[in-house]
């Protein structure tokens, strides 16, 4: 449901993303791994339609995000890095605003709001202004915003960053629960997260996909000819990203 072909983004001659091609189908959870500045966020911003690619195409449910941005954006739920939200608004008003912009009405709207609020468990803080919320709740409000319209495609930029272990566990459960019906891309620094929820992983360094890996049947992961035993993904990650950074 997500098809990226030879995506390139240049900033003043510097290629932040340099020819990334990927496809993600329904039921797949793709983990973007990579050092800081590798181009993970920039790639996600292009899929979500925030940045225009310098060249290449990104399609969501068959819709080119540059050619028909509004139709593509309707099918995407996007959590930007840091889960930005309007600090003066209450969590409830914020979600109502998202529902307004997305044109949700009547019974469907009520169901969407109730489902999202229940899924991320923010019922108790709906009346609080977002600036007074803890980091964990803020992130959950951001997630609620992304899943509000039950989109077929989810792009989540570091969804568990800054959460405590319990909250991380909860967000991972949530992603796993939604996975069968959606195509999901998450970026993360946490390798155990990839092992916990992803069905595929792409290691990105210097704007390129240096390895595309899948879990092995007997446990562990395989990236090309590199194998990682269960819990040993870090060695592969370092081997792949260190040589490109040399």
């Amino acid at each position: 449901m997500i098809e990226i072909e030879a995506l390139v983004k240049r900033f003043d001659g510097f290629a932040a993303v340099d020819g990334v091609s990927l496809t993600v189908g329904r039921g797949a959870v793709l983990g973007f791994l990579g050092p800081n500045g590798a181009g993970k966020s920039t790639t996600m911003k292009m899929i979500a339609g925030f940045l225009a690619p310098t060249s290449g195409t990104a399609r969501v449910c068959g819709i080119d995000v540059t050619a028909d941005p509004l139709e593509a954006k309707r099918r995407i739920g996007y959590l930007p890095e840091g889960a930005p939200a309007y600090p003066d608004m209450t969590a409830g008003d914020f979600l109502e605003f998202i529902a307004d912009v997305r044109g949700l009405k009547g019974a469907e709207r009520r169901k969407c709001l109730a489902d999202a609020i229940e899924r991320v468990e923010i019922g108790p803080v709906l009346e609080q202004s977002i600036e007074t919320l803890s980091k964990g709740f803020k992130r959950r409000v951001g997630l609620a915003q992304a899943i509000l319209h039950d989109p077929p495609v989810l792009i989540l930029d570091e969804p568990t960053d800054g959460l405590d272990p319990n909250q991380k566990h909860h967000v991972r459960q949530l992603i796993r629960a939604m996975a069968p019906a959606k195509a999901i891309v998450i970026s993360t620094h946490i390798l155990e997260e990839v092992e916990a929820i992803c069905t595929r992983a792409a290691i990105i360094a210097r704007g390129r996909v240096v390895a595309d890996g899948e879990p092995l049947a007997g446990g562990g992961w395989r990236f090309g000819n590199l194998r990682a035993e269960p819990g040993r993904l870090e060695g592969v990650f370092r081997a792949l990203t260190a040589e490109t950074q040399a």
């Binding site: 339609g49 509004l70 139709e71 996007y78 930005p84 309007y86 998202i98 997305r102």
Partner: protein, 252 residues
């Protein structure tokens, strides 16, 4: 195509409503309105000598509006985009199914509606002259309409410059500076500096941008179609620049 416009409109309405409410989420709106009304009254009755003139019209009231708006409108518009850029919510907003022009329009209309509300609250001045004499109400309505249009022009400048920076104070000062240039474009201060070397055509062109000159007629209640077209197209031009700036600044 109809679907496209309907959806763009849905987003614009939602953004308008959010922005308008955002003014009242903090005490800023109330402080603004109180100070605006106080300064407006001060100008009208003290500097404008509304009573001593012995005429039942609102000319002293309207004639200070360009100066009033020069400072007050940037205070309304400065947060529109600068705040979104600082808090990172611009990325959220621009990945929702809203067209760029729709978002620009929604925000601008919210600021304009707020300014219109502040302007409407000056109605006691109108009641005062209506009580004391027999003013030309048509002229006063025309004055209010012209004033509202001019406020839109100041706001469009401010909204555009707000998209150029993450810093609201910078947005405010830049908007006052640019607003000042257009306010006094027809005044001797500017024209004398040009007349020594510039061709007549250029001088006339610069003078034609002057809010002060254009508003002089409006303050007396004369609404000329040319002035209306000027203010509407002036605001539209700045809003278009606003959209372009948001697009350019996204990657930086």
């Amino acid at each position: 195509m109809i679907g496209f416009f309907r959806h763009a409109f849905v987003g614009t309405c939602a953004i308008f409503a959010r922005e308008f409410r955002a003014y009242f989420a903090t005490p800023v709106a109330y402080v603004f309105i109180v100070v605006f009304l106080a300064v407006s009254g001060l100008f009208t009755f003290y500097l404008g000598n509304l009573f001593d003139r012995g005429q039942a019209d609102l000319r002293p009231f309207f004639s200070f509006h360009p100066w009033l708006y020069l400072v007050f409108m940037p205070a309304i518009s400065m947060r529109l985009w600068a705040e979104e850029r600082r808090s990172g919510t611009l990325e959220l907003l621009m990945t929702l199914p809203v067209g760029l022009l729709g978002a620009v329009l929604g925000k601008f209309l919210a600021a304009w509606a707020f300014a219109g509300m502040a302007l409407a609250l000056t109605f006691p001045t109108w009641l005062t002259v209506a009580y004391l004499g027999d003013p030309d109400h048509g002229a006063i309505i025309a004055g209010y309409l012209g004033s509202l249009l001019m406020a839109g022009s100041y706001l469009a400048i401010g909204a555009c410059l707000s998209a150029a920076t993450k810093n609201q104070v910078v947005a405010f000062i830049a908007a006052v500076a640019v607003g000042f240039v257009f306010t006094v474009a027809g005044a001797p201060l500017v024209l004398d500096a040009l007349s020594a070397w510039a061709p007549r055509v250029l001088i006339d062109a610069v003078a034609s941008f002057s809010f002060l000159v254009r508003f002089q007629a409006i303050a007396t209640g004369v609404l000329d179609a040319r002035d209306l077209v000027f203010f509407v197209s002036f605001a539209a031009t700045w809003l278009f620049a606003n959209a372009v700036l948001v697009e350019i600044k996204k990657s930086g």
